[in-house]
Symmetry: C2
Amino acid sequence: MNPILKSSLLIYFIGACDASGTDIALDAKATLLHRIDSLNLLIYTCLLTLTVLTIWVFKHRRVSWLHETGLAVIYGLIVGAIIRYGGSTNEVTYIDAHPAPDTKYNLSVPPDIVRFHFPDKIQISSGEAPIPNKTYAYSFRGEIVKVEQNEIDLKATFDPEIFFNIILPPIIFHAGYCLKRKYFFRNLGAILTFAMVGTALSALVIGALMYGCVQLMPASLASSFTFLDTLYFGALISPTDPLTVLAIFSQLKVDVNLYAMIFGESVLNDAVALVLSGAIQNYEKRYSSDGGFEITGFLGAIGDFIGIFSLSLLVGALMGCFTALMTKFTHVRDWPLLESALFVLMSYAAFLIAEVCELTGVVAVLFCGICQAHYTYNNLSADSRNRTKQLFELLNFLAENFIFTYIGVSMFTFPKHHFDPWFIIAGFLTSTLGRAVNIYPLSFLLNLGRKPPIPMNFQHMLFFSGLRGAMSFALAIRNTVSEARQAMLTTTSMIVIATVVLQGGAATHALAYLRIPTGEGQNDENEALPYRDVRSETPRGSTDGGSEKARLARLWGALDSRLLKPLLTHARPPLTETLPGFMRPVARLLTTTRQYTQSDNSLRRTDSDSDLCIDEPQPVPTSIDPQLSYNIRNGYGNV
Amino acid sequence: MNPILKSSLLIYFIGACDASGTDIALDAKATLLHRIDSLNLLIYTCLLTLTVLTIWVFKHRRVSWLHETGLAVIYGLIVGAIIRYGGSTNEVTYIDAHPAPDTKYNLSVPPDIVRFHFPDKIQISSGEAPIPNKTYAYSFRGEIVKVEQNEIDLKATFDPEIFFNIILPPIIFHAGYCLKRKYFFRNLGAILTFAMVGTALSALVIGALMYGCVQLMPASLASSFTFLDTLYFGALISPTDPLTVLAIFSQLKVDVNLYAMIFGESVLNDAVALVLSGAIQNYEKRYSSDGGFEITGFLGAIGDFIGIFSLSLLVGALMGCFTALMTKFTHVRDWPLLESALFVLMSYAAFLIAEVCELTGVVAVLFCGICQAHYTYNNLSADSRNRTKQLFELLNFLAENFIFTYIGVSMFTFPKHHFDPWFIIAGFLTSTLGRAVNIYPLSFLLNLGRKPPIPMNFQHMLFFSGLRGAMSFALAIRNTVSEARQAMLTTTSMIVIATVVLQGGAATHALAYLRIPTGEGQNDENEALPYRDVRSETPRGSTDGGSEKARLARLWGALDSRLLKPLLTHARPPLTETLPGFMRPVARLLTTTRQYTQSDNSLRRTDSDSDLCIDEPQPVPTSIDPQLSYNIRNGYGNV
């Protein structure tokens, strides 16, 4: 897929008046390229259609050993193999060029555009001579590292940046928007520990072990990996993507706290891994000249990590709160189309603002999603709630299946794979070990302070849920300039495929083997707790007893329910009741009539936690109404 | 906006291990380009947000003299001016290149990739020398026509092809999906005449008049326009986009037949103009070497037009019917998310298949939308109906406002504008004349055979509704290689802006001046006719008497209700009743249990014509519930 050639050719050549032989040939070529592009997209559209239809058959027949993502990967692999071994090659033509005589150029970087004067004195082996004296523009693509190995044949492949700019944002936003915040906050300590400390630890362990393994390999390979390379591999292979496992959890009604821990961790560790890998790359570029280790550079990288993560978080959260304010204080909710458009535009703006500020857009979009669900959702009209939920559900579904299809297809068609059996075996072993190091020691430490400790079989299930997915693949395919990076891409692809298909398929058996009770949690759930506001905080806290909230979380809860919720939404009690006396005038200004007049009852009904959490498996038994239960399923469950 | 440079730079350079001076500089450049891209997108996101908020204020204050598209254009113009006169320039660097010595190259087209060896012997004016002996890849962009005039400064601009591949398809699909088919088919004769014959006539008249005008202009300009150029201008300026007028119609409850004629014509003439302009370009390239007129070429172009139009129509209609069959005979409706995904994927596939076959994807998508609404919609689950309707409504809203914002911004920032006052004046005059030639003579001819003739004030209103919009602009900006094309782009942009803002704003006054009755049609509407199937066909036809159906339309109606509807949907009567006796076994196979069992009543309730036509203004009085009425408004009405 090469949109570059296509579009520019079309711009310049359609309707050119002097229809010479060259122009007609160029035009035919442009048309051909456009057709190839469309064909590539069509292949993926058909693959997704096929996946949708097969999922339907599976759901209809109640097959649960293969999730839609596993299916997408398998179809992708099959079609990739067909394209690779059945398709014809589209040759790319080259010419070597030197600067024209008497050229002056005073920059240290290569120019953006090369004006290539097509020569009339060139040696032609066929009879057809090019029209002489024409000048063509060529735009910069990148450095050619090995001149003999640059056969660029991009069949059914896309620019890797589209994953970060187009495919991942809706997936991540949807995860944030659907996060079951009640259980998320209840298990916040464990989730943060696994996602922040665990991911960093896992990256470090995998990086160190891989470096050791690489040193034992044949010298040719060993020399191409630096410690930073293997550390980067550790960072990219650490985030988990347990879609398949969660789908089965949802279906079998597994303990909601376990569900929250696995889902919450996987949402956050994507963000952590993305920023972590960025910090490693920055370290590589800024602080190190030989790929070795320097203490100032290391501290700089840690600073990068913390700074970028928290600033991105801030941008996302602020945009979410800003949307909440706009929907609270205007009556835009009277026009749901405008309201939905505003919601989508503001969420996308969070991504763009972070990117403009050289932060991480994906992280901003995650926290924007969480804030949109927590605050803005409460202000939206019923129509907009429904519309935004369904829109992002659909986008998420398509994006997710596209990326898994692409993982399958690219295994065969992406030209920059490098199969190295030793590296692949080492990758599998160390990524398993890295997951173990993430879960078991940290669970032990957490259990020291946790009232209901994480039982051993939950720990095993957490370990087992370490499937790798979209984020690992997107990070691996982003940069394939060196042989080391190409080996990483191949290994990552294979780990993703193996874990999604095999581990995902075995999840039901794992649950049974680990004797994790299923079909439970309904009693606990039927309480249908709304967000615990100040009035219900104290009694809940004591009767609940299920999980000890950390002090910080409690502080946050108080701030949220006394200040943020009343400020940003129509929730009760209004600010006039929660703020101290001297703030009364300001509080009155920031409270809407609706907030004064509505009853506590309607608040509970409209509070986001009771109706947004579409991954909540309880309200409707999944076996009764397939239509409703699929809504609940929502990509993280499986009927 | 230059995604080409950005993405490729990122791929090749992020994390390159040999962090030399050049690499760091390149990396900084890549980051800068990515930031500029994000900033451009952010500008448009903010503009759209601003438009949404202002529309809300307008709706709230009941301002109706400015439609959201007019607003988007005006905001675009303001921001475009700020960027143009306030922003800094990002210089593009050039170098001239010649082929390396001893290069062999045996093709008649320029190569795809130039491998540019960065020289170490180059004359450097500053002290910093580039790293020698590096080779960079440069990809083909196009021919440089005037070497001295190629300052490419693309601030806040996009590749024009995105309009045809990303922005227009959802707009056109939505138009087809929302077409009020009952009134569309009732006025089919007039709509087809205006859209097919009228657009061709208008293109021809405008083309001829413009050619005459151009000949009277200064010689420098006259020589740069061929007759084909002006004919192309005629084709691109002929399609109408009366969004603003229709919004006011919807608000004031103007006669539904007039509404159907204007909306139906504008939907179809976009498709006609697109294929027509394509045929003119093909003529230019294939049959003519001097831009003159040749009879074989002319016939060839007519053949192209008819062939491409009907084949594209066929592709779209077949994909629509195929989706209908899939949703009828599978139970995918039990899982609305899968069903919606299937619907979206199949509709997109129609676009891609047409593009792969070198047909017109936009035309295919239009007829796919019509078929999806006419057949598939009846099979969908309630959730999917809602979801697809809302999804495309939102996409349409965003795409439409984006394109109008872009028209405004590009007026200042697009570098290839050519202001020629004579051409602009001539453009305004001839495009008005072209609209008149489209409406008045054809109305006269139609009235000869029409039972209730089109009254004179309706004709004036049809003439007045000749606003130009998205399609004209997209066609004009597609190709700006010559000065003639640049003058066309400028003129088209100005005509679009003027008609949308001024004519759109004056629509209410025009209605009053022409004494077109408003607030009417409710009695007629309250019958709430479902699609007229075989049972109600004859009595309706006689009592209705409002508009005489053409024989062809009646034939189509019979085929549709006896064969297609029972085959493709769950509509009654089933095929077993409508097909002749010997076809009974086949008919039984193609009839679902639901079709046998459901009552006529439920059919009426679920038939698409009674609940899809969200532009139908009657069921809910617009003044009562703003939320509901906005749904009805749906971008073509205005509350």
